[in-house]
């Protein structure tokens, strides 16, 4: 992969969390002998992907699959255990706080819960002016006021409400303010972590329209984290499907929705209830999602997959490019036995 044309590149990124606690918690008996054992949550395992400038790459998966961790690793909120993250070809995963600064202006994040992500004791003005003053110390007060009014207008919040506190706004309005905070530094890359999941359907449509509109006007690139596949279908250029911290399938939105290849993707897509369609038979998965503490051997999906065989239980599948340009990590697809 040529990392120079990509906006963001992740190479073999791994993120594990140590949850073993204190020394005494780590103490276990093995064969009659006390040993210290660490417990780790394997949130992201060896994920490689890239984001092209101007596209919307969606990361989908069920709760606990590591999609939010992935977003936070890219944003530098968690350091990866291993692997590299590049922004326009420059490595950003090992930077010091000071060296991160220029990248922070270009990469911003929007969070899920507009009730939790805005500081309740700050007015809209305070929330929006802090990043401006921090990153542009030379800006005058008048310039800042102009900028804030401009961005508020763009996200559809009346600039007259600048002195109000978050509790005076509805959920949809708050999410607009969070978006304004993300845009105030004129970033090129936005990571949106479930930005519409906490909103009602009619408000969700308003926010999705706003995000698409801003993308076109400001030429933004989105990394969109969500579990809602109908939203994904609507706004994405490409989609990455995660299962237990592992990338299963990466393809264009069109290919993923009309011709899904990985057995997990197919099961996931068949489970979306669609308005006005008679109930289609959805693919039933065996068993339950394993915990990311004890990952299954081989393919992480093999215990629930109807096509799994010995090889799947033994060998970890790697992402392989298919003729249509999608990437799929599945022995079954490769051998042609995982066909519906």
């Amino acid at each position: 992969m040529n990392s120079n044309t990509h906006l963001v590149t992740m190479n073999n990124v791994v993120k594990h969390f140590d949850i073993s606690g204190g020394l005494l918690d780590q103490l276990t008996l093995k064969g009659g002998k006390p040993v210290f054992e660490k417990t780790t949550v394997k949130a992201v395992n060896n994920v490689s992907l890239f984001v092209n400038p101007g596209e919307t790459l969606s990361v989908v998966g069920e709760s606990g699959c590591g999609k939010s961790t992935l977003a936070r690793v890219i944003m530098g909120l968690y350091p990866p255990n291993s692997g590299q993250i590049l922004y326009r070809g420059a490595r950003i995963d090992n930077l010091s706080h000071g060296d991160w600064m220029p990248f922070r202006k270009k990469m911003q994040m929007i969070f899920q819960d507009p009730y939790a992500s805005l500081n309740p004791r700050k007015t809209v003005r305070q929330t929006l002016e802090e990043p401006l003053r921090f990153h542009n110390p030379k800006m005058t007060t008048a310039e800042i006021a102009d900028k804030i009014a401009d961005v508020m207008e763009q996200v559809g919040v009346d600039p007259a409400w600048i002195a109000r506190y978050p509790h005076e706004f509805s959920g949809g309005q708050r999410q607009r303010i969070s978006i304004a905070r993300g845009l105030i530094l004129d970033p090129e890359f936005i990571v949106a972590d479930e930005p519409v999941s906490a909103l009602d359907v009619s408000i969700q449509a308003q926010i999705l329209n706003l995000l698409m509109d801003l993308r076109d006007k400001r030429n933004l690139t989105y990394l969109f984290i969500t579990h809602d596949l109908s939203v994904v279908h609507h706004i994405s250029t490409r989609v990455a499907v995660l299962y237990l911290g592992t990338l299963c399938e990466l393809s264009s939105a069109k290919d993923l929705f009309y011709d899904p290849r990985h057995p997990y993707t197919r099961a996931l897509l068949s489970a979306i209830p669609k308005v006005g369609e008679q109930k289609a038979k959805h693919i039933k998965l065996k068993g339950e999602v394993p915990t990311p503490v004890n990952l299954p051997s081989g393919c992480v999906f093999h215990g629930r997959c109807v096509y799994a065989d010995d090889r799947c239980a033994r060998e970890v599948p790697v992402l392989q490019e298919l003729p249509n340009g999608s990437f799929v990590a599945c022995h079954g697809v490769e051998e042609g036995r995982a066909m519906p």
Binding site: D200, Q204, A205, S230, H234, S270, K274, E277
Partner: protein
């Protein structure tokens, strides 16, 4: 023929310091044996309050101000608390949204199931345990014998919701009211739970009231739908007809605003503004400030729910 459950012109109010606010305003609907009804709306529309009111689970400062609820030919809205307890959890059961919150974390599944059964029937513990096991099998839980002695934290979210469904089935109820039963679950689990509920309704001839904000789920599971807005039912009819050809502009907007209603990448149809606060519901039709069809009459006269043809009832002056 009378219906299994009939709610007639129910009004629910909450007495607050500055006066009463009306959460449910003249809601009427019915449910027959084995029928599945969906109550849909956005948050604050009053769908959960409607569900709670049916079995009189409205706690102070809320109260049923007007109307009546009939179950099996009896007017249960007049029942005393003791009498109601014989219906609640027994003839009409309820499933709640969050399976993490509805099970008691300090008791085993078996204990909670036996306790529930013995509250309604005078049977031995051994007999109750046998019934519990039978119900666990009915909700397709793997290794049900083991589950009886497990605690809620040992089970996943989907499994817990199955246990809750098994508990609601214990007394062979005639109706299950499910309040957002899958909102806290992942899509693949949601599909399984919905399949299960639908199957149970068919095999046990049970009525289901499904309260949800998810139009997709409603359209696949239910036969009849009631769309609520600001405490009123604004559209009521067969699910297939309503989702294909909605009459009320709000329902139309709601369905149109779903991603998937139009081609990917196109601008979604959106309903401007948001649902009014219950303390300041607009004059006339509550939807009028957001409606693209709004005329003078809409701001003065409250529309009533009436037949608009095709078996769909809607409350709109313009249709």
């Amino acid at each position: 023929m009378s219906h299994l459950l009939e709610v007639k012109d129910m009004e629910v109010k909450f007495a607050l310091r500055f006066g009463d606010i009306t959460a449910i305003d003249g809601v009427s609907f019915s449910l027959d044996k084995g029928e599945r009804l969906g109550l849909v709306g956005e948050s604050g529309a009053g769908k959960s309050v409607t569900g709670f009111s049916i079995i009189n689970l409205i706690s102070k400062p809320g109260y049923i101000a007007r109307g009546s609820i009939w179950f099996d030919g009896k007017r249960i809205s007049d029942y005393s608390d003791t009498k109601m307890r014989r219906i609640r959890g027994n003839r009409i059961a309820m499933i709640f949204q969050d399976p993490m919150m509805t099970l008691n974390p300090v008791f085993t599944i078996g204990f909670q199931m036996v306790e529930t059964l013995r509250a309604h029937q005078s049977i031995s513990k051994a007999r109750a345990r046998k019934i519990a096991l039978e119900k666990l099998k009915k909700v397709q839980i793997p290794s049900p014998e083991e589950r009886l002695d497990q605690y809620p934290h040992e089970l996943s979210g989907g499994m817990r919701q199955r246990i809750i469904i098994a508990i609601s089935l214990l007394a062979d109820p005639a109706i299950i009211i499910a309040d957002e039963p899958t909102t806290a679950l992942d899509v693949t689990i949601q599909a399984e739970i919905m399949d299960l509920l639908q199957e149970l309704c068919e095999t046990e001839n049970m009525g289901l009231i499904l309260i949800t904000h998810d139009l997709g789920v409603v359209s696949q599971v239910t036969e009849k739908i009631a769309v609520m807005y600001a405490g009123k039912i604004i559209e009521y009819g067969p699910t297939a007809d309503v989702v294909h050809a909605p009459v009320h502009p709000y329902t139309e907007g709601l369905i149109g605003s779903l991603p998937g209603a139009i081609a990917p990448g196109e601008e979604l149809k959106q309903i401007q503004g948001m649902m009014p606060n219950l303390t300041s519901i607009p004059q006339g039709c509550a939807f009028n400030p957001r409606c693209h069809l709004c005329q003078d009459i809409c701001t003065t006269k409250v529309p009533i729910l009436e037949d608009k043809g095709n078996g769909i009832m809607a409350a709109c002056h313009m249709k």
